[in-house]
């Protein structure tokens, strides 16, 4: 199979009159075959590529145009600017929910969607195909003889016992910048009060704030950070050097983000979208699944503590501007103490 991976980093794509920012773009499959599937996604090309390749193996005369954008840009493209894509794939469950709730998604049913577990489907509009836990990532090498925390209490105690060692070397999402960080943080507060205590400890230790998981993992790798909190475990696991890290799924509760796919209301070729969704779901669920995230990241180990974020209008609550403003100001006052 011929495959063109064209990278345009931070370009304004020609043909899209209004300007939403794309981060990357790639084309796969037989070009000029007529059948084009346009995907807009928050997932890196590398992460999602296996799915595309396996789909093209079954549907050789199809072309896939894969556009990577941040979740907020994706929201802008579909919700505000009405660009036509056949499939929207995002890790920002709240924004996906809002898109679907606001009527920007088509309903789709098939044998594959009907056999999904309840948590993986919403209103026949959103279909979850990954379960990605928010993990605590620790540099094995730099941690030395310190005991690895198993849950948030142990983490708090550890940080309190060794303030000098951890000062400035703890990292987490800047929830003002990162949609995913905000999602994880709000879900943490729903699960337990511990989150606020932890955030205060982070604030006291002058925690560093990041835009994205990959940056945090990289910082742990370079030794800049000892601990990164609420990092996408799948990203750490999918790295070649995964053995350098301890990827901890907190045993008190592990927040799990579900990556979801949605067929936008204005999809130019919805039949093809449906075929791709079926393929995506078949490969992601059931005993014979070959999920995108690394198999070593075994969620069944912490099944009891799993806190899958529920897709549904509850997620709209934290998108509410008043609610968000209140949350962010509380968060800021906890983490920015100087």
């Amino acid at each position: 199979m011929r495959q063109f991976a064209l990278s345009f980093v931070l370009i304004f794509a020609a043909g899209w009159a209004a300007a939403f920012e794309i981060e990357n773009r790639a084309q796969f499959g037989a070009s000029g075959s007529g059948q084009v599937l346009r995907i807009i996604s928050t997932a890196d090309i590398g992460f999602f590529e296996p799915m595309i390749i396996s789909f093209l193996a079954e549907n050789p005369d199809t072309e896939i145009d894969y556009v990577v954008a941040s979740s907020t840009e994706m929201m802008r493209a579909i919700h505000d600017e009405g660009h036509a894509f056949d499939l929207a794939i995002s890790s920002a469950m709240d924004l996906q929910t809002k898109l679907a709730n606001d009527g920007k998604a088509q309903r789709y049913t098939s044998a594959a969607t009907q056999s999904l577990p309840d948590w993986a489907i919403w209103n026949d509009m959103l279909f979850a195909f990954t379960q990605e836990p928010a993990a605590i990532v620790v540099s094995k090498h730099a941690f030395g003889d310190l005991p690895l925390p198993r849950d948030r209490h142990e983490l708090i105690n550890l940080l309190r016992q060794h303030p000098d060692r951890f000062r400035g070397r703890v990292g987490t999402y800047d929830v003002r910048q990162s949609g995913l960080g905000y999602l994880f943080a709000t879900q943490d507060t729903r699960a337990s009060e511990t989150y606020w205590r932890l955030t205060e400890v982070f604030g006291a230790l002058e925690a560093k704030l990041y835009c994205c998981s990959s940056d945090m993992i990289e910082a742990v790798k370079t030794g800049e950070l000892l601990i990164a909190y609420n990092v996408l475990g799948s990203y750490a696991m999918n790295r070649e050097d995964r053995s350098d890290f301890a990827i901890i799924l907190p045993s008190d509760f592990t927040t799990v983000m579900l990556r979801t796919a949605m067929i936008p209301y204005n999809a130019p070729s919805p039949v093809l979208s449906g075929a791709f969704v079926d393929h995506l779901l078949r490969r992601s669920h059931g005993p014979e699944a070959q999920p995108l995230s690394h198999p070593d990241l075994d969620l069944s180990r912490v099944e009891a503590a799993l806190n899958r974020i529920r897709i549904g209008p509850g997620l709209l609550v934290f998108l509410d501007q008043l609610k968000k403003r209140a949350f962010l100001s509380e968060w800021e006052s906890a983490i920015l103490q100087n």
Binding site: N101, N123, D124, P313, G314, D320, L322
Partner: protein, 458 residues
Amino acid sequence: MSKPTAHGSIRRRLLLSLLASAAVLALVVYFVVQSVARQVAQESQDNVLAASALSILDSARFFDGEISVDLPYSALSMLDSISDERVFYAIRLENEFLTGYVELPEANGLSGSVPAFRSAVFLGEEVRVASVRRRVSTDIGQSFLQVSVAQTLSGQKQELASISRRSMAIGAGFFLVSVLLAALIAQSTIRPLDRLTASVSRRGPKDLRPVAAPVPSEMVPLVASLNSFMRRLQLSLMRSEDFIAEAAHRVRTPLAIVRTKAEIVQRNADNPETHAALREMIHAIDDSSRTAGQLLDHAMVTFRLDHLSQDKISLRRLTRDAVDHLHPISELKDIEMEAVGTDDLIIQGDQILMQNALHNLLDNALKYTPSGARIVVTLLRHDDGAEIRITDTGPGFPDGEMDHLTDRFARGANAENVVGSGLGLTIVKEVVEAHGGQMHITNNAGGGACVSLHFPSS
């Protein structure tokens, strides 16, 4: 008799009207159940929406003259807990939009703190909206904080579909039960008619007693006129029997006188021609008086048949007596006549009628057999009853006529010069049948007539 023409059927008409009303009722049940269930479903959805809106309203706080609404997570998630629903909300302070979906329509008619509801189409789908409000005091004075919450109807539609299926099932079940009941009702309504029909058609041909069994009031006029019709029929029958008896009697008496006179004249007549004429005359008179006697007998039999007495009859006695009674005549004709069978048999019945029947049969045997013949009356016991068999050694019944010899006034070809009326066998048959028995006439293999009377054991 011509078969009455049937026009419609009471049972069918009853069944049809019951079924029609059952169908109407089933439809009504279906619609009532459905509309009640619809209302309940709507109300329960409204309640959930109102609870959600109120919980949002409760979360509003005023602080430093500024409003903060801490949208509760459950306020929206509860609307989605049973079925996946799209959910919308809007919060306004008086007419100033605070947060949510700016275009979400509000339910009108809010008064006080009672929630108001409306249905609308929002963002391409049907929704139900609940609105609530609360009076708050801000720095510019009193104003209303209003919260509207809306929800799509997919869960409700599912529920309604299942309700509709269920009410359909209820309606159908109701109808089925009604069909069963209707069949039973029609059956039981028609039963008195069936009973009457059965009781009338079970009767013997001469049974004209009034129907005495109780009947439903609607059938009383019918039965009353039936009874009066039968009474009239019986009366007119009786009258005609009386008339015949009277007529026969009136004819017989003068005939006897005429015969006596003729005999006297004949005895004194010297002229052989006159003698012969008088003999023929006497013969004719005998014939007529015999016919009159038979008519009288027949009338008597017919009359007694209606009021059959229930004597204990010893058949042995009966046959012996009959043979003895006719012995003088048999001797005169030089005919040997005897009754055989030692075993006595008892039946219930009318002694006089049985005697009459037996006399008729023996009389026939004496009439239609030549001198030197032999007549035997045999009494036989069978498993299922008794048999009296009268055989003679005469010429037997004429061939090909045996089928109708028992008809009234029917006489055989061999009866040409024999006095008779053709009523003898008729009387016998009627008597035997009135006793529940049967008469068979045949000819013996070796010649001679054979009449057998069967009586069932009572």
